[in-house]
Point group: C2
Chain length 361, copies 2
């Protein structure tokens, strides 16, 4: 293994090194077949087997019930922002409720308004999205077709510790915490996630959708934008993003071999606690999120001044702690520590945080 | 280099081996930075440089004028089937003209009808799409916003030798022959192509669009489905399919280093002629396409019986000539010989064709 930097990027992000090595071998010669993985026809028996195995592993790792389809789509999570209302509000005169906890929910709300009446039941925008609500803090109009929320807010470092309690259909953007903790999928109508945080490289989006919702769209919707189209063809209606799907499968094997989602949850809690403890240990660092809303995946924090933040990011990068710059919308620092981010890197970070605070206080 | 099979698949398809080797190195450790290519943030200076270089190389290799944008989108060519009419017919009451030369134009026509009045000016469906028309064979209603055609029909093995002569805006699906021959881009309003034939792996679609057309959409269109959104952000409005873009860049370097599009055109003509000569040499093989419509990329042909075709495909595969089965919609055999398909493989195929015909006539 070459010397690796610790990559705190929010996505695309660190992947298990064993997955990178396997991908490198398969790209030039897939299982000694004399053909590269990315040269395989998507209709070949080799690639069909990859796609089927990947789906089965996502299902197993997330414990997805049989009455849910798992789709591998393109266009990023951003494409789900319009596909969901386009399908679920089809026919017109319908409404949905959204919880606004950050940039990505806000973008989803904007797209949804093209298709129906959208209630924003809660927003933490006034406090720079530093918290997520608990169920008692908002009401959902029973006429809503669905309640939409973002389980983990990558930019602000907030995360729902428990999911909304409601009779309304739950739709969730889990892009930045899918597979990081145990989730009861049966509580949801639709879950989606871009792969490039906990599942693989950029280029594929996973949609987990309950069977009975596949028919929600109507004939006015382009074929490619109906969930049913992709569900009916096992995500092979058109050429899928083969390499990204393959990588998701390899990450799923790695996750399963490392104890599954329950083990990830335990390790993620431990890794995040190390950083939060470092933040709370001094007045030098201030966490962006309210304590009760803290994310185990993305930890956004500030130093006393913007100058110190720039110095912190630069000195960290110089010793191989890379990608700690916060999102341009809130500045500051951010450590993204997804499933594949090694515990050793977290230990190095908190050591550096202590040293830096001591030197610069 | 491991022993390689000759991969005649129609896409995903053969890529230059040097590109596979480079990708394998970069995936585990990008330019010795201690981070894998597919772990790089799309906003990192490393990946931004990859994206910019890829765009510049596509522009150089295709001689794309400055008043055209080159976009790297997701969703496959199939997503362009609706994005084009959604943007170009926005506002309602508009019409467009389509030339129907195969499965993919037919699918595009179906999607376009969701957005406006569609004239089908020509169709070769009655003769199983065995030909493409010349300009004199159809008329284009001057009220059309654009004339849509597919330059090369992958399934049927037909190809426009010259492009429609018309004052109407030309929109072209070049998925299966982009970069295989010299094209005057300035004659087109929009050109699109899925990468997985002549440009790279599946997972990215190239759209080349004239600047003045970016504003055609209106505010009723979801943000992600407007060309302007992606043009304004250099295809970085959301996380792009980084690995596929990187591979396109590597293929562009290979193409440039091997003489560019003019050299590809010469070699492709030579490779295709070898196969067509083998077909024409006996009555045993019958080409699907009319002689004047023959494709240099995909050669669809039949043997005297379906049984002989199955035997041909199986015996060819046994000696490393893989993927010769025709598309399920017309059966028979098909040899897809894109830019990266080696001349040696074509020579092996025509030798095998002669032997097989001699033995089985």
């Amino acid at each position: 293994m070459p010397e690796r930097i610790y990559n705190f990027s929010p996505g695309p992000s660190t992947l298990p090194y064993s997955v990178l090595e396997q991908a490198a071998r398969d790209i030039v010669n897939y299982r000694d077949r004399g053909i590269g993985l990315i040269e395989l026809s998507h209709r070949s028996k080799e690639f069909m087997a990859v796609a089927e195995e990947t789906e089965a592993l996502v299902r197993e790792n997330m414990n997805v019930p049989d009455n849910y389809k798992i789709l591998f789509l393109q266009g990023g999570a951003s494409s789900q922002f319009y596909m969901i209302p386009m399908n679920f509000l089809a026919g017109g005169g319908k409404k949905a409720t959204y919880i606004n906890t950050g940039t990505w929910s806000k973008k989803a709300i904007r797209e949804a308004r093209l298709f129906g009446a959208i209630d924003v039941a809660y927003s933490s925008e006034d406090t720079t999205f530093n918290r997520v609500p608990s169920t008692g803090e908002y009401t959902v109009d029973p006429a809503s077709e669905y309640l939409y929320f973002v389980s983990n807010n990558t930019i602000y470092g907030t995360q729902f510790k428990s999911f909304p309690e409601t009779d309304t259909l739950l739709v969730c953007d889990m892009s930045s915490d899918i597979l990081s903790r145990r989730v009861d999928v049966s509580r949801f109508g639709l879950i989606f996630a871009g792969a490039q945080k906990n599942m693989g490289p950029a280029g594929v989006t996973i949609v987990i959708i309950r069977d009975d919702l596949l028919d929600r769209g109507d004939d006015s919707i382009p074929t490619m934008l109906r969930y049913k189209t992709h569900a009916d063809k096992g995500s092979m209606f058109n050429t899928p993003p083969c390499f990204a799907i393959y990588c998701v499968g390899e990450v799923m094997k790695w996750l399963k071999n490392n104890g599954g989602v329950a083990a990830m949850e335990r390790i993620n809690n431990e890794k995040a606690s190390l950083v939060y403890d470092a933040i709370d240990a001094t007045d030098f660092y201030r966490g962006h999120a309210e304590v009760g809303s803290r994310s185990m995946m993305n930890i956004s924090f500030n130093l006393p001044t913007a100058e110190l933040e720039a110095k912190f990011i630069a000195e960290a990068a110089a010793i191989g702690l890379d990608g700690l710059k916060g999102h341009r919308s809130i500045g500051g620092c951010r450590a993204s520590i997804y499933n594949a981010f090694p515990r050793d890197g977290v230990v190095r970070l908190v050591e550096f945080m202590a040293e830096f605070a001591a030197k610069n206080s």
